[in-house]
Amino acid sequence: MSVIDIEGLRLGYGGMAPEQIVLDGIDLHIDSGEFAAIVGPSGCGKSTFMKLLSGLLTPQEGRIMIDNEPVTGPRSQVGMAFQNAIMLPWRTTLDNILLPLEVSPATKSDFRNRKAQYRRQAEDLLTAVGLQGMGSKYPWELSGGMRQRASLCRAMIHEPPLLLLDEPFGALDAFTKEELWFVLQTLRQHRTFTVLMVTHDLTEAVYLSDTVYVMSARPGRMLVRQSIDFERPRDLDIRFEPGFVSHVHDLREHIRGTRAQAVQQPAAGASQ
């Protein structure tokens, strides 16, 4: 059963003239509980695509269905995390994590009545990502990696069935990244949810995902769908196995190809 159903999606910023089009005919189906990654050259429209899924943007053409319902505006069924884990500096980490519950219309009144219970839930989540007891700290007292963990907690506190991650680990060092891959997998063992993740790190994409999509240079289209079927839980050393390496190699070739094409014919209509 698919969670995300997208057909004929087209979007242009400000209009549908050739040079304004960012996404040009995207069809995508993602199953419930699937971990999908999107890779592609910079500026091809990945972040735009994520905004469409969260209901922050509406496409000019095509339709987006989440859970068999058309996306017409923001709904609280998604959790989001970005490359820089922005937190409100005047709130403690715990209060930052609870923010979605506080403002989402679906949970707002419930949150006021059962604060203690939700606080405990947030603390459990902090423990799950390896931040036990850090809830009372302020964001600036955390390291970059810790902030990113907390931002994952914030994205998941309202238990959304779909998690949208836009280069969440892009600013982290290799070791912290590996720890967070592990954290993400642990979280998925606790509760199944669908993940759609944008990343520039092909190893990360192959290691974490069931499916990797390659997007073409702008205007964005899904060029390739690559299934990754290594068994889970996956060991970190899997990265050095030939099957894994060839996946990464293939993806890199696809991206290189579409980038080269974009350079040869710069922005189809821009010169007109």
Partner: protein
């Protein structure tokens, strides 16, 4: 027995260390402003004697102090008058500035619509408005309060609006994607985030408010420091004019310091967050 013998050396060692502590303070960075102020008055005093400046041209601080003691009653009464008109005007400016700042910062339409008018309004010299205010309200405290208000609300509006506009776009995305209402986004993220800007602007606004009330007092009042200085000047009591200026400066510094403390108290997180990032 043993207890007393032990306590004596302890108190002996404490006394010189406390003295050194006090002496040490005068060498610290915080004491710099103290020394500079002392130096400023010493140079002033010396210059007056060295160049034999007549008292009606530039009185030395010692003569000003004498005048301040002599006219202490008038100084205190007029200082209080100026302080209250300033604070009243400033109080209105804070309320009005906050409301208008939120309106302008929260709505693009209002921002674009109101900005030219506000900038134009702010460009008008407030002294030019005083005669009109006198025409409407007569001579007294009201024109001073209104002038203080008019001159000090603009920086508050601009800072609140700027603070609201600089909300992190990604934070806003997260909240909007959750379906958060505009009011919630304002109350939970926008306003708290704008508080450092707001409290920072109060320091500027309070000093401007003093300028406003005193300007108005020199034109259209029968009390207040501005009025007193004008009278003293007419009577050639030049030391008293300077005593009035000093009283004004002291009031300004004290209020500024008060708002620095309030700013630290209310938005301490901003300072700590900043120093943590460095």
């Amino acid at each position: 027995m043993t207890a007393t013998t032990q306590s004596t050396p302890a108190s002996q060692t404490r006394r010189p260390s406390r003295l050194r502590h006090w002496l040490g303070w005068f060498r610290r960075e915080e004491a710099m402003s103290f020394w500079i102020i002392i130096g400023f008055f010493v140079v002033w005093e010396a210059a007056c004697h060295l160049f034999a400046l007549p008292v009606y041209f530039l009185p030395p601080p010692s003569v000003i102090a004498q005048a301040a003691v002599e006219f202490q009653r008038a100084l205190v009464i007029n200082s209080i008058q100026t302080l209250w008109t300033t604070m009243a005007g400033f109080g209105f400016a804070v309320v009005f500035g906050l409301v208008l700042g939120v309106a302008v910062g929260g709505s693009r339409r209002l921002y674009r619509g109101l900005y030219p008018l506000m900038v134009g309004f702010n460009s008008v010299p407030k002294v030019a408005l005083v005669p009109i205010l006198v025409l409407w309200f007569g001579i007294g405290s009201v024109p001073a309060i209104i002038t203080a208000f008019l001159i000090s609300f603009f920086p508050i509006v601009v800072n609140v609006a700027t603070g609201l506009a600089t909300t992190e776009p990604e934070m806003d995305d997260i909240l909007r994607a959750l379906g958060a209402s505009k009011l919630d986004r304002l109350l939970k993220v926008g306003l708290p985030g704008a508080m450092p800007h707001f409290f920072g602007s109060l320091k500027v606004a309070i000093t401007l408010a003093f300028v406003g009330s005193v300007v108005s007092e020199t034109v259209a009042a029968n009390s207040g420091l501005g009025h007193m200085m004008l009278m003293a000047q007419a009577n050639f009591e030049v030391p008293l004019v300077f005593a009035g200026l000093l009283a004004l400066a002291i009031e300004g510094v004290l209020m500024y310091a008060l708002f620095v403390i309030i700013e630290k108290r209310m938005t301490g997180w901003a300072f700590r967050a900043q120093s943590a990032q460095q």
